[in-house]
Amino acid sequence: MTLSELRYIMGRSQREGHKALFDEYCNYVYAVIINVLQNSGTREDVEECVSDVFVKIYRSYRDNELREGELKGFIGAVAKNTAIDYMRKLNSYNRRNTSMDDEDFPEMPSDIRIDADAEKRDSKRLLMQMVNSLGEPDSTIIVQQYFYDRTAKEIAVSLGMTPAAVQKRSSRAREKLKGLLIKAGIGREAI
């Protein structure tokens, strides 16, 4: 969706414009937020954060802060920054309620580390190629389970399978993926 297209829809109805923008970018925003809030927030926290991101974007549109050709980049940046703020708040709350020695205590992410480590990025791309090579429905099962943190029951509903079948396929796909990673010389520490 271009900014001109968005302006056209907004001209007809603000709500329609918001809905069009939301439908176009909600999965992208959700993925960006999940990537930051992994191990920190609940599903409700993620949904709250997604809704906050869209409020910021609607208001940025209203104030003419969006630029043609930069819409997706702008939305991605707002999503990432909002998620980092959320994570800091959640970790601050967790710190008051959890021992720092707890093994499950989430690590503070480092954008610099993530963005600077080109080798790790290449490993992630190779990993995604391997996940894609598993074929459907295994690749979707692995991504939904380990990136989006969905349960076997939720994945089963989305794929029209039984939870038992999802678990069985997931277990086999995981083993296959581990084998592919070892064959490619990618250890756990590299990804």
Binding site: R15, H18, K19, F22, D23, C26, N27, Y28, Y30, A31, V32, N35, Q38, N39, E47, E48, V50, S51, D52, F54, V55, K56, Y58, R59, R62, D63, G76, K80, E103, D104, P109, R113, I114, D115, K120, R121, K124, R125, L127, M128, N132, S139, T140, V143, Q144, Y146, F147, Y148, D149, R150, V157, S158, R174, L177, L181, R188, I191
Partner: protein, 57 residues
């Protein structure tokens, strides 16, 4: 911590690819989250009308 933590700290480009190739939100989740965003937007619009909200996004 997940036992198979392969997607931890995924880079921006890979996240974009995952979102495009493996969209996850159900219609119900989309409706719920969109409704939440509209509700929050309307509250903010009433509380901080245009020009008065810059520091209160």
């Amino acid at each position: 911590m997940k036992d198979f933590d392969i997607f931890r700290n995924t880079d921006d480009m890979t996240v974009e690819m995952i979102a495009a190739s493996y969209p996850v939100l159900s219609d119900e989740e989309k409706e719920r989250t969109f409704a939440m965003s509209e509700r929050k937007f309307n509250i903010k619009e009433r509380k901080y009308p245009q020009g008065l909200y810059k520091r209160n996004r």
